[in-house]
Symmetry: C2
Subunit: 333 residues, 2 copies
């Protein structure tokens, strides 16, 4: 006699997990969540917008998850994920409405799933976002025991006439960089290769120049720029979230025809972790700026005129470059 | 010298894939997709609703993906996923607006990714749903070469006063079952164990009683009930999509207090594939109805009064049970 459980899937445990999660996620709810009705789907009532445009994005945490597994610390990757998604839709002027998660694993302790949800809930609360649904999928034979994939979907909203359109960018506009908290969620395959394969470090190692252990440095939470930037959006011409593809791809896709970008790489101090990766891996400069955020997690594009006002409001902002006439794309010098 | 590519991540190939996908997904766009602006997020303008309630759901394909890998056939799992998500939000009265996908892999042929997208695009077109975004994530070391995970996220909309609320269900209401096309996307871990481990079949084997090869039978596309059901929603009191958790969990969560459900399991003919799984695996009846759809992919709950009208409009519908007073949940007899 074969039961589903013998095939590696445990419906009863899944039910127990669901019950526990339900309580936790309620902390993220607003009156717009019509959750008492939600069954196969989650209900969110959209109110207060004249010409609402929904802004959606999907992301994973990538192999930062493997660092979390090495450190046996699973209560921050959820926050990484939510913040990453929130930043993505913020670049279009949107504020978050709701979030759904997907967790897939083959064998995972109930406690680990609880930890993951702690991070998700905390990320959602910090960004005024309701965690209204998701899927926790047990897939026997797909993942190593103790490993999992974690994916997030976000939906936000913006009034149609408030969408941030990069088409308005022009020569003379200035780039203001906002500090990142660390690697955020990009470049972990390369960073892990350098630290743990080439240099054979352990995540608990302390490396000179780092304030925390290597693992803790690598797990620093992806910063959300929503709290500081959302109130200033009307003064901003465009936003580039420096994620996969680094400075090149994430700026390039914003540039109108005949507008190019020059970045002065000496305008800000790189956090030590990036220098270590580059030195230990003997990685060319261009590759570093293509893969990592190099200490700048979000770039704001503003007109020269509004620059003083913005810098006053955001004292952590650093002028890192400008837009010029040309078709050479992004030049880092 | 180490490059990102040496760590197993190839940004250039990822870019090439993105370009190809972009063309394909445009086929799913409606004028509501403001895609020419979309950069870090995807924009969808919501129009035509007075009190719009967004309905969101997230799902994976599960280990049906492993059958697709065995069959080297990847152009239908996308359709499985879209249809599954569409059915989920349909149970609340919603029509689909847009869809985002997540594909994660370690090593995967570009052609395979193209095939997956073919299925996603076709699923979205059939359900009048725009495929507006997603994430294709290369995660070295996570997945077996040639394997991938595929996740979908859907957002639909319903007018607040048209939400299907199961609270109105009452003793005397009738259950109408609509045929499934096969296993849909549930119970594959158990089915694979029975066919490929216990019975050592190959997916190309032909088994007596099955119209197609075993692999083809298992890959039959999850049916979308949106085209046949959406026009009739106003006559329907509730809908149960028979997915993970089978008849028990998916009906149970709809039942109001003091209302129970009796299903007559002899009222419909079970497709051969379910009988084979049960016989080969010596699986108890209750477990079969807890894991599989048993040939009924969607259950409609209607009042006795509207039964004749519904059956006339949906000639494939079969009366499979009724609601009664009681607290025993779901009884299958």
């Amino acid at each position: 006699m074969v039961l589903y459980q013998d095939a590696g899937v445990d419906i009863d445990t899944a039910k127990a997990i669901k019950r526990r999660i339900k309580k936790l996620v309620k902390k993220t709810f607003s009156p717009n969540v019509l959750s008492e009705i939600g069954q196969f789907g989650s209900l969110y009532q959209l109110t207060g917008y004249k010409r609402p445009v929904l802004v959606a994005s999907c992301d994973g945490v990538g192999t930062k998850l493997l660092v979390a597994a090495m450190m046996k610390k699973h209560d921050t990757v959820g926050e990484d994920l939510v913040n990453h998604c929130v930043n993505d839709i913020l670049t279009l002027g949107a504020r978050p409405l709701f979030f759904l998660d997907y967790i897939a694993y083959s064998q995972l302790a109930k406690a680990t799933i609880g930890e993951i949800f702690k991070g998700l809930v905390s990320g959602c609360r910090n960004n005024h976002c309701a965690l209204i649904g998701g899927e926790t999928a047990q897939m026997p034979g797909f993942y190593q025991p103790g490993e999992y994939d974690l994916v997030g979907f976000i939906v936000g909203v913006v009034e149609k006439d408030k969408i941030i359109e990069s088409e308005k960018l022009n020569a003379g506009d200035v780039l203001i960089g906002l500090p990142s908290s660390g690697l955020h969620t990009n470049g972990y395959s390369l960073a892990r290769k350098v630290f743990f394969e080439i240099k054979q470090f352990k995540p608990t190692d302390n490396i000179k120049g780092l304030k925390k252990s290597l693992g803790e440095e690598l797990l620093r939470v992806h910063r959300s720029y929503y709290p500081v930037l959302y109130p200033f959006l009307k003064n901003i011409k465009a936003l580039a979230h420096i994620t996969g593809g680094g400075f090149y791809e994430n700026i390039q896709r914003l540039l109108p025809q005949n507008i190019a970008c020059v970045i002065n790489k000496n305008s800000w101090r790189k956090p030590k972790i990036f220098q270590l990766i580059q030195d230990y891996g003997n990685i060319p400069d261009a590759e570093m700026y293509r893969v990592f955020n190099m200490g700048i997690g979000m770039i704001i594009f503003v007109s020269k005129k509004s620059l003083p006002k913005i810098l006053k409001a955001l004292p952590e902002g650093i002028v890192i470059g400008e837009l010029v006439k040309g078709n050479f794309g992004v030049k880092i010098q």
